[in-house]
């Protein structure tokens, strides 16, 4: 075949591909959905994984009884983990650090960044409570030496101490440190570290699967028009737009 015809054929193929996206009707698609096998047992595990990872310990225990699904972690460890998380969320940092160390001292030993963030949160709480002198002392004695080891720690420390320079901290440039979201950030960091130390994944699998659904639909969109699920909270199939 001459080069000319090869090129012509190739162009024709490209054109065909661009214009003819495969169309799958609702009826055909529903047939395919029907052929899919989903095991109840696996869905139960998925739900259990969510309850356990997110720390719903009582619900997880009940779900074990009601569904016969075994959790993939010792439920007692969830209670301890949630106690640490709660302490951080409430700003009881000394309590939180003590509890982490009771759980497993290696967590903070092997995770200097986490330890720094917990100490930083402790400093923030001192400032929030107006304990200025105590805050300064704590910053100089506990946090500054750590800053010497690590430039980013030092930057963070300076940012935090800057809170002391403003009278109206809520409207100052570093005011966000006093926001509840900072506590939640620290809480989720310590939560993740504890899960990792227990050889458990730090995130539940369900949100990733939902993301994967959107991703898979987007991928298939490139090649076919088919009924999509656009609203995760209804799970309704929507007819393909051609």
């Amino acid at each position: 075949m001459s080069l000319f015809w090869t090129v012509i054929r190739h162009l024709a193929e490209i054109e065909a591909m661009a214009t003819s996206k495969k169309v799958i009707t609702r009826e055909e698609w529903e047939k395919r959905l029907n052929d899919v096998k989903v095991r109840k047992e696996d869905m139960n595990k998925l739900v259990m994984n969510f309850l356990v990872t997110e720390g719903y310990v009582e619900a997880a225990e009940k779900f074990r009884l009601e569904s016969g699904t075994e959790p993939d972690i010792d439920l007692a460890t969830i209670t301890d983990r949630m106690a640490v998380k709660k302490a951080v969320q409430c700003g009881n940092m000394e309590d939180a650090i003590e509890k982490v160390n009771d759980l497993n001292p290696e967590i903070l030993d092997t995770n200097p960044q986490l330890f720094f963030h917990l100490q930083q949160q402790r400093l923030i709480e001192l400032i929030r409570n107006g304990k200025i002198e105590e805050a300064l002392e704590f910053a100089q004695e506990e946090l500054a030496p750590r800053g010497e080891e690590n430039q980013s720690f030092l930057d963070e420390l300076e940012r935090t101490v800057a809170l002391l320079a403003f009278e109206d901290v809520t409207n100052c440039p570093v005011g966000e440190l006093l926001d509840i979201s900072q506590r939640l950030k620290t809480a989720s960091e310590v939560n993740a570290a504890i899960l990792t130390s227990q050889s458990h994944e730090k995130d539940p699998k369900l949100p990733s699967l939902l993301k994967m659904l959107i991703w898979a639909q987007n991928q298939l969109d490139e090649k076919a028009a088919y009924p999509r699920i656009n609203n995760l909270s209804t799970g309704a199939l929507e007819d393909p737009t051609v």
Partner: protein, 477 residues
């Protein structure tokens, strides 16, 4: 048939269908004595994906005469002096590389580079003319030793380019060379002594066959289709590829409370009332509290007959079928009104199974005779009756080929069927089909169907979505 019966039949036949699926996939794999729970059993969905894998070299379709395949069918030697370019000793694997997966990989060890070291590794299609180097013909791909170049579809090689970390891509005696396919990225990749040399886009769809070639006197290679450990760390490579893909997926944003709402609706759908109560209570106390009222309002519909559904599920899970019948007659007489309906069959069959489980075989026989007799004229249940009655033939029925009916999952199936039928008695339910699946299940089905369709449009390349694999990922050991 009135509307109620119609919904009943629709739902029970759906669950009978699921039972049949279990029967088909599980009767083939009786469990080994003394082992495991349901979860450690080989997964039937995985089995659907089982494909033939290359294990040795093909001595029939390879260019004999120019090369000699050893008796182990894993080594190749070029004994002659080659005369021209068409004297290549090309040897292919005994079958195509499996494609319903993320990666395929095989290796070749160069035992002797011979006179010229004109050795190649690569992939060809079945249409390949077996006397040329892989890569020299259309739809073939090869990586050659003496020049270290990549060949794809013509006799002119190209360098692997900047991708290659080592610089030197040539290979010779003592080197281990690998050829692989990454189906997710649609590309081939080649390795040298455990390091990726480069990748090339796989522009051919459909099956490709692992191939090696020798072309000068004394050249000798041995191939490893995975019987021995690979030099290249394929496990780590696979993890890396998955992580890359996962990173793209994690980038997608979803509503913060989407998972929470989904778990909640799951608990509602199946009547896990106790769990739901504790879940809601805990949700109120989280920081920040999770709003229990979703955007479009609370769907109290899903709370329909919650405590009845919970009670019945518990009875069935404990194997108390008589009590289940009694409760149904009291609460929902319309469901068990017709003694020959599919749902009654499901319950009677379960009663029979429970009798066998506790060893009341005589009672089971009597019960079976009277109850199954009623369904005899309905030949649609024949296969399932057979699975049940076959239990009687074994001394250890739970370890027999029909032992699957004694598993917890069978009770669960019956409980789910009853649950769905009760949901359909809600006067607000317009279409009984809505009661068959939880929202979580609908999403998982959509996800699986998307993966399968994408693979189909991709010429069959790539892995399917396996919930089981995701559940098992991230576990130690």
């Amino acid at each position: 048939m009135d509307q109620n019966q119609f919904a009943n039949e629709l739902i029970s036949s759906y669950f009978l269908q699921q039972w049949r699926h279990c029967s088909q996939t599980l009767t083939l794999t009786p469990s080994n004595p003394g082992t495991e729970s349901d979860s450690t059993r080989p997964d039937s969905e995985y089995e659907d994906e089982r494909e033939e894998c290359p294990t040795e070299l093909d001595t029939l379709n390879s260019s004999g005469g120019f090369s000699v395949v050893g008796p182990d069918k894993l080594s190749v030697l070029y004994p002659n002096v080659n005369l021209h370019g068409h004297d290549v000793g090309v040897v292919r694997a005994n079958c195509a590389a499996p494609s319903k997966r993320l990666l395929y990989y095989f290796e070749m060890y160069v035992k002797n580079a011979g006179a010229k070291g004109q050795i190649a590794i690569g992939f060809i299609t079945s249409a390949f003319k077996v006397r040329r180097h892989p890569g020299w013909e259309a739809n073939s791909y090869g990586y050659r030793g003496d020049d270290g170049l990549l060949y794809r579809g013509c006799g002119k090689g190209e360098s692997f380019g900047p991708m290659c970390p080592t610089g030197d891509t040539k290979y010779t005696t003592g080197d281990t060379i690998g050829g692989g396919i990454n189906y997710a990225a649609q590309e081939f990749f080649f390795t040298k002594n455990g390091v990726v040399v480069g990748t090339v886009y796989k522009d051919v769809r459909g099956p490709v066959i692992p191939t090696v070639a020798v072309h000068s006197q004394g050249e000798e290679v041995t191939v490893n289709f995975g019987k021995d450990p690979f030099v290249f760390d394929i496990k780590a490579y696979e993890a890396e590829q998955r992580a890359n893909q996962q990173e793209k997926i994690e980038y997608i944003s979803i509503p913060v409370d989407a998972s929470h709402g989904l778990v909640r609706s799951y608990l509602q759908h199946y009547g896990y009332e106790g769990t739901l109560e504790l879940f809601d209570m805990a949700s109120k106390n989280t920081v920040p509290p999770i709003s229990l009222v979703p955007e479009n309002g609370f769907n109290e519909e899903d709370m329909y007959a919650m405590s009845q559904r919970r009670t019945l599920r518990q009875l069935i899970r404990r194997g108390e079928i008589d009590e289940t019948f009694a409760k149904l007659r009291e609460w929902y007489p319309q469901i068990v009104q017709d003694d020959t309906s599919s749902i009654c069959f499901l319950l009677h069959a379960q009663k029979f199974i429970e009798l066998v489980r506790v060893g009341k075989l005589e009672e089971a026989v009597l019960f079976g005779r009277t109850e199954f007799e009623k369904f005899k004229r309905l030949s649609e249940f024949d296969d399932l009756v057979k699975d049940c009655s076959a239990l009687l033939a074994y001394e250890q029925p739970d370890k027999s080929s029909v032992g699957y009916v004694l598993r917890e999952s069978q009770r669960e199936l019956v409980a789910d069927a009853i649950n769905a039928i009760i949901l359909s008695t809600n006067p607000n339910v317009k279409d009984a089909k809505c009661c068959l699946q939880s929202r979580l299940e609908r999403l998982l089905r959509q996800l699986t169907a998307c993966f399968l369709e994408k693979r189909y449009l991709n010429g069959g390349d790539g892995e399917a979505f396996q919930l089981r694999r995701i559940l098992n990922s991230g576990k130690k050991g």
